[in-house]
Every structure is written in C-alpha cells, then in structure tokens.
Symmetry: C2
Subunit: 228 residues, 2 copies
DNA sequence: ATAAAGCTGTAACATATGTTACAACTATGT
DNA sequence: ACATAGTTGTAACATATGTTACAGCTTTAT
C-alpha cells in the first residue's frame, strides 16, 4: 500500500485513540484490498449487498438517492479517511440504502467483516469509535429527512446562508458549491432554487453575483426560519 | 420487576442467543430503573440528550417528527420488547433525532450506558445484536427518506396496498390503521390521502368501505409503481 | 338509547414546486 | 484569443399537494 493511502487510513476516526502499530498490523496481511474507481463512476447501487467495510483512502464519494427519472437527492459527501456505510455492515440484509458515486478519482480500502468483528471485540476504542460513527450517520440522515419534509426552499436557503455566514465569519459568504449542486443537496430543481434566490433579492434581503452572496437584512433571513 | 416486564426484556432482540441467566443478572442489581408514562404522554423530544439505553417493556411508542404547526411524520412505531434509539446512545452529541410519544400506557426499562458498554465487550452476541439493530434503524430511516422524497401519494398508496394484500394474503385487505394514521405515516394531509383513494375508486382500480379495501385491478396498481 | 368523540368523504380554493426552454454569462483548456 | 462546456437567471405553464370547512358516518362511553 502506498504511503499516502496508509496515512489516510490511519487518519480514519474509527482508529482514533488506537496504537498506530495495531492499525498497521491490520493492513500488513493479505486481508485488505484496494479498489480504484474513476471520477464519475458508479461505485455501488442502492440494494447492493455490503459485506466488507470500506474506508475511503483517496478522493470523494457522493451518497445519494436517485429516482427513475434521474432526480437526485444527495445525502452525504464522504471524504478521504471516512468509512463508508459502517452501520450497513451489520444490518439484517446488508443492503446499501443509497447509491455511491465517485465525485473524483477514488481509492477504497476494503476490510472483511470477520476482521472488523475481531477488532470490535479486542479494541474498546475501535468499538466506541464504530458506534459513534453509526450514530452520526443516523443523526445526519434523520436531519436530512426533517429538512426534506418540513422545510420549504426558502427556509433551506435561509438556514444554509446563515450557516455559511457563520462558518465563513462574514455577511458576504461565497457559496462553496454551484447552485446546481446546492439544488441537489436540497432535493429541489435548479430553476426553483434560482427563483427563490431571486425573490430574496427583489425583497432586498440578499444581493448576489454568481456565487458571491451578500446578506443585507440578516434579521429577515432569521425570521424566515422562525416561521413568522 | 414484574414477571411480565422481565419476560418482555428477555424477548428483546438485543439479547437473542444469550444465556437467560446472564440477562437476568443484568437486571437483578440496582442499576436499571423502570419509568412509566400514560397514554398520550410526550416521553422525549427531538434534541433531548439520550444517555441510557431504553427498552420498552410495556406498551407502544411512536417515533416522529413534528412541525411547529403540528404537522407530523411518523418514522416508526416501537413495540413491547424493542430498544429505543440504540444508535443514539453512542452518537457524538447523543441528541434524539425524533420525538417519542406514548401511544398506549408505557413502561420503559432504562440501562446506564456503562453497563451497555461492558455488555458489548463481554458478550459477542449482544454486540452483533446491537449493531444489527443500529443498522436496521438506519435502513428504515433511509427508506422513509426515499419514500418521502420520491414517491407521490398515489405511489405510496399503491405500494402500501400491494404490501397489505401480500401480507394478509387476499386482494381485499383490511387497513390496519385509520386513514388518518396512514396519512401521518405517509407524511401527507388526510384530505389529500382521501382524494387519491377516491381517484383510485373512480378509475375502477379499488373499491372501499371505510377500512375495507378491494383491489379490483391489481395490474393497474402495479403499473403505478413502475412509473408508467 | 343517547350523547360525545372521532373518522371519513368531499369541495373550492391557495400555493409551492416542478417542467421546459432559451438566452446570457463564466470558466477552461488549447 | 477562441471555442467549448458548464453555470446561471428567467419566463410561462403544469401539477401535486396543502388548507379550510362542513356534513355524514362510526365507534365508544355513559
């Protein structure tokens, strides 16, 4: 295994607090395999059986639902050093709940389930890390469901912009995504998203030039979220 | 602890394949407590911190999202002997993702997290059972999200009726829920659900008298799901 | 048997979002 | 510098679902 791939593995939160040597041992044998996918490739589909634990050692993967018609809802973006679908490894039927697609060129390290079970029993930290990861995924998914069901497009925009303003520490945040990608995350169509952005502008709450947003009336944005 | 509560505990899938005596030991000490709630009571809210593992030893609990306006989406119904929000016990912030409300009078057995961790390490079966349960919840939630996002009311009805016909082994299934409860599960309003049921009737695909449904043109129902 | 509470069907209307299409703009690589 | 591909804004229109209200039914409790 390449140096940088090993480094990415060691950085996986599943191994937090474990001795470096123990983790390296795990990958010295023949049990783990690397798989490569090109950018844009479909790695796995909803319903596929998932029996090895995959850890992403290079690139970015999108976890998403896809309709017959091509309509998409992105659930998560998995980045280098993250584990893929950890909870599904032990679910009753092991069916992946989402499609996985390569957003960039991707390298995955695959660990057989028996090894994972052994590690869970022998290493308390691995156990708690694993459970924590499972819990986090459930939390993310639940929040996604809540947003999809209860938030209007306007509310999603308001929430997202306030969050961005917060993390970027400015009232003029730059969208880290294209509006198209944002529409996908929100689970709405691009023209609909665009229309609502425009509405905010005509109401004088925002101004925008492409991805550069200026929040002009923060209090109005906040009011949207309080369901005035 | 009462006889029937102990029995319900032992029937919890988390203890599948474990020695009865070991489980009983767990509950003989002073570490576990019982809590009671009356029918209709709100047991916990989304965001509440969840630090003890709860197992339902009597009654039924609804896990649901609730809007400001009172709009509701039921995610799951937890029945006697089921564990509550197992994955959240180890999630980063331990915040419950849903509201929990008592559909009947309810008794809950509460097990402190340290004991759960001990059990996870000492009993392989408990570990795999626990992981399986976590996985199942994620699967259920993901499926819920997919339905909410991609299925129209018509499709939800078609899917549900075919499923009911299947499990009840007849083309004249009896709805196990009121239409009101069904609307809640589908995350739609009751009049909307009612309207679509009526449409099916006028199209000659169904006939209904209250909860008694008759599927007249099964192939049309199936066609709805195939997104004609 | 009666009253009360809950469930169901229906209707007119409101509204959020999707669909399709096109033109203008922006980045990118050659 | 240019050509190409990707991104964005916009418009007219279609549609699924929500909202509110009411009347007729069931079921349940007294």
């Amino acid at each position: 295994m390449q140096e940088d791939h090993l480094k990415a593995l060691l950085a996986c939160h599943l191994f937090d607090g474990m001795q470096r040597s123990k983790v390296e041992n795990l990958f010295s044998g023949e049990q783990c395999h690397l798989f490569r996918y090109n950018r844009g490739a479909l790695i796995a589909f909803r319903g596929d059986v998932y029996t090895n634990l995959w850890i992403l050692v290079e690139g970015r993967i999108a976890a998403e639902f896809q309709d017959f018609s091509g309509k998409v809802l992105k659930v998560e973006t998995l980045k280098t050093s993250e584990a893929v679908a950890s909870s599904i490894l032990f679910a009753p039927e092991n069916n992946l709940p989402v499609n996985l697609s390569a957003e960039t060129d991707v390298v995955i390290c695959s660990i057989p389930r028996p090894q994972v079970i052994r590690l869970l029993q022998q290493e308390e930290r691995f156990l708690t890390n694993f459970l924590r990861d499972s819990g986090l995924r459930l939390t993310i998914l639940a929040e996604k469901l809540r947003l999809v069901q209860f938030a209007t497009i306007t509310e999603k925009i308001a929430g997202y912009l306030l969050e961005q303003a917060d993390t970027q520490g400015t009232d003029s945040p730059l969208l880290p995504l294209t509006k198209e990608a944002l529409a996908e995350i929100f689970g709405v169509t691009r023209p609909s998203l665009s229309r609502e952005f425009s509405q905010f502008c005509t109401r004088g709450i925002l101004s925008q030039t492409g991805r550069q947003i200026h929040i002009l009336k923060r209090e109005k944005l906040e009011a949207v979220l309080e369901k005035n």
